[in-house]
Subunit: 447 residues, 2 copies
């Protein structure tokens, strides 16, 4: 049996995950709309034999563009361009179940899966925030539970659409003049609470059957959803204890839902800041912190914590009377993580902004390549992770440093593939997951 | 002043526009989901210095896949992949105003325009048919006038979104820590009959400002819409007289709407079937006709004419008591064109199916390269066309034949560019159109 190996995902974000990264001399402030920038990043990640790369997304522009690069190319479109510039790496796009229709979105992912030869993944989000809602005819954000109920129905419809062609529906009998077999087309005829979708998808079943299903919400609703649908989960965890608890909880929920624990991969985020010595790594981290504009950080933290503008004191602690997570309609689990981090480490608002500047709640780790590899190996080896969501503070240099210096150590330790090889081609194969059967085709044993 | 030259658009459709093209030995019946097939076509068109290529679309699968290749990759996604495989040619995707939301669609086209360096075009359709409606939560197709009212509001919102960033909104002042100028961001704050869209697009203004706006409806509603918004119009015309009348009508409508007649380009469709002699061309055409399955043709014609199944007699004429165009909620002008063609030429249903098999109502022309070039030159030179929508009966061979044999004649006659050159880079520049001003920026003379 093959030894268990890490799954690595490169989480790409313009000039890097650190909010001040765009201010460094090396950074291009127009990178967010530059295809060549993303092609460069994708090729670095492919050099590092990553399983996949990933783009976050939300269908809105934040209220101010002053603070840092705002806006982004639409992920499915951008990843299609990257599909043609790469050969092996998986391509995971974020898309919202609240602000798309199942027919259009299922079709776009099917198209990306065909074009990329089976490398498409969908990070399923329900999209928090009133800004997005107001771009789609709503006055306010739908309630958290409502968004997840819609998401579950969306997934059911999308799965019906992706299975609406059997794999062998195309007959292509030129002599008889018969192209397809209508008996192998299965229109969803779905009538639900949120959606009515009558007809079959107008794209044949794809190399993967459907895109790898990814999820990143860690609220109670989010975990329930992940246990039912997700094949990979991105999560923010600050301590190995929390990560172990999350990992065990999610795997057991998946088993309770009748799934194989091995068919849901858990990838915590890590923001590595690498130096050839620990002191150099810390100095690199300080350069980034020195570029933070603290008034911007206060704005953003107040938004994240749902506080009125002007509530926070830069050199004081967080207020003692913050509302409980249950009162938050937005990103619930991130809220709790940030509040707990500030209280556990007794951080001032200024210190908290410094800690969040790099990873918005994900684990930031400054150290040598060996130290980064040690941490990854420790979490991977002790039930806290199946792999990692690598979130470089600065791009492309931080990804390049990871691939140049950390990847060789992981390979030498047998934790990471040394090449893609030819036997596994699809994204789902890279993650060690089976190709899903079509819901309309009985398993051979049952026929 | 430069001599007026043809604008050529390559209308790509899987194995070709002839319904039986997929049955030829040369054709790949899986071409419709094969990126390499489309890359090959795009590169042939670019060799022929075409202005653009184009994909039709509808968000539904027809009720039977037996007859010929059904379904298609989503056009914006596919064209994004083609953007990376080409350098010069424009990329026009069809998308529906009835079954998309303005924020998502405006963003996708903005993304394609950035990725392609200003080569995006949008063929605006309102999407006829109940099949599509039932994939998006509706029981029946919205009325024709209702679809066009929604389309007009959709365009107004999309234009607001594309103009929501001024061209110089990105300041990128690293030293001061200021990335963008909030005063140059203009949220639409649109509250209309069909849409409410509050916030700015999350993509900066694009190389072209917005995609080239293309339209192909020739009904009364369609022409009114085109006169107001369209920069290029695809149209089906069977005779040069009809084409001249359409051309003159559309230009005068545009002028009446306060536009420059030269800023709306009219491109009739032509299905060239080429042979080295006229007899060879006719023989090529007959091979295609011999592959038509007539029962399929009857089904399709009954659908096009909104007749009950079993109404038509293969060897009789069309029924005398067909309803008037005003009673048709679908593709109105195509309906009238087909009925008039059958009556003018006294065609049986079988003969009509043969005539429609290649171009679904577009002008089918079998001849030598010189004859094809003569017809193109005649229409172009006598007020019937600004260029042509080239619709090869078989792909890729028909496009290749056009580029190899007709294009050199057009170039020798000074009717077509011999190379793309470096001064015009965007699709709008190729069509001889100005880059649109941002609606939020006063013209210099007015400041």
């Amino acid at each position: 049996m093959t030894r268990r190996q890490l799954h690595l995902n490169a989480f790409l974000m313009t000039t890097g995950h650190h909010e001040a990264s765009w201010r460094l001399p090396e950074s291009d402030p127009h990178a967010h709309v530059d295809l060549a920038h993303y092609v460069r990043l994708a090729r670095i990640a492919e050099r590092g034999t990553f399983d996949s790369l990933f783009l976050a997304d939300g269908p809105q522009l934040w209220s101010s563009v002053a603070q840092r690069p705002a806006g982004a190319l639409e992920p499915i479109t951008l990843l299609t361009a990257l599909a043609t510039a790469t050969e092996h790496i998986g391509l995971i796009a974020t898309a919202s179940t609240s602000y798309n229709s199942p027919y259009n979105l299922a079709r776009k992912f099917a198209t990306l899966d065909h074009i990329s030869g089976g490398r498409a993944g969908w990070n399923i989000v329900t999209t928090a925030g009133a800004e997005a809602a107001r771009n789609f005819g709503l006055d306010a954000e739908p309630a958290h539970a409502e968004r997840y109920a819609r998401a579950a129905e969306f997934l059911d419809v999308a799965l019906k659409l992706w299975d609406s062609w059997e794999d062998d529906a195309i007959v292509a009998d030129k002599a008889a003049g018969v192209w397809g077999d209508d008996a192998k087309i299965h229109p969803p005829r779905h009538q639900g609470r949120y959606f009515s979708v009558e007809g079959a998808l107008n794209v044949p079943r794809t190399p993967q059957g459907y895109p790898l299903l990814v999820q990143a919400g860690s609220s109670e609703d989010g975990k329930r959803f992940a246990a039912r649908y997700a094949e990979a989960v991105f999560t923010a965890q600050q301590t190995i204890e929390d990560a172990r608890a999350f990992y065990a909880d999610l795997k057991s929920r998946a088993v309770a839902a009748g799934r194989d624990a091995d068919h849901i991969k858990v990838l915590p985020g890590i923001v590595p800041v690498i130096g050839s010595t620990e002191a150099e790594a810390r100095a690199n981290e300080r350069v980034l912190e020195d570029h933070i504009v603290h008034t911007h950080g206060v704005d953003r933290l107040e938004r994240l914590l749902h506080l009125d503008p002007g509530t926070l004191d830069l050199d004081g602690p967080l207020p003692a009377d913050l509302p409980p997570e249950s009162a938050i309609e937005g990103a619930k689990s991130r809220y709790t993580l940030i509040v707990e981090l500030a209280r556990r480490e007794r951080l001032t608002v200024r210190q908290l902004i410094g800690r969040l500047g790099g990873g918005r709640g994900h684990l930031t780790f400054a150290g040598t390549p060996e130290q980064v590899a040690d941490t990854i190996g420790l979490w991977f080896g002790s039930g806290a992770a199946d792999g990692f969501n690598i979130m470089p503070a600065v791009l492309p240099s931080g990804l390049d440093a990871f691939v140049e210096h950390v990847v060789p150590i992981l390979r030498a330790r047998g934790l990471l593939r040394t090449e893609y090889g030819s036997s596994r081609r699809t994204l789902r194969e890279r993650y060690g997951l089976p190709r899903p059967a079509n819901q309309h085709v009985l398993a051979p044993a049952l026929v």
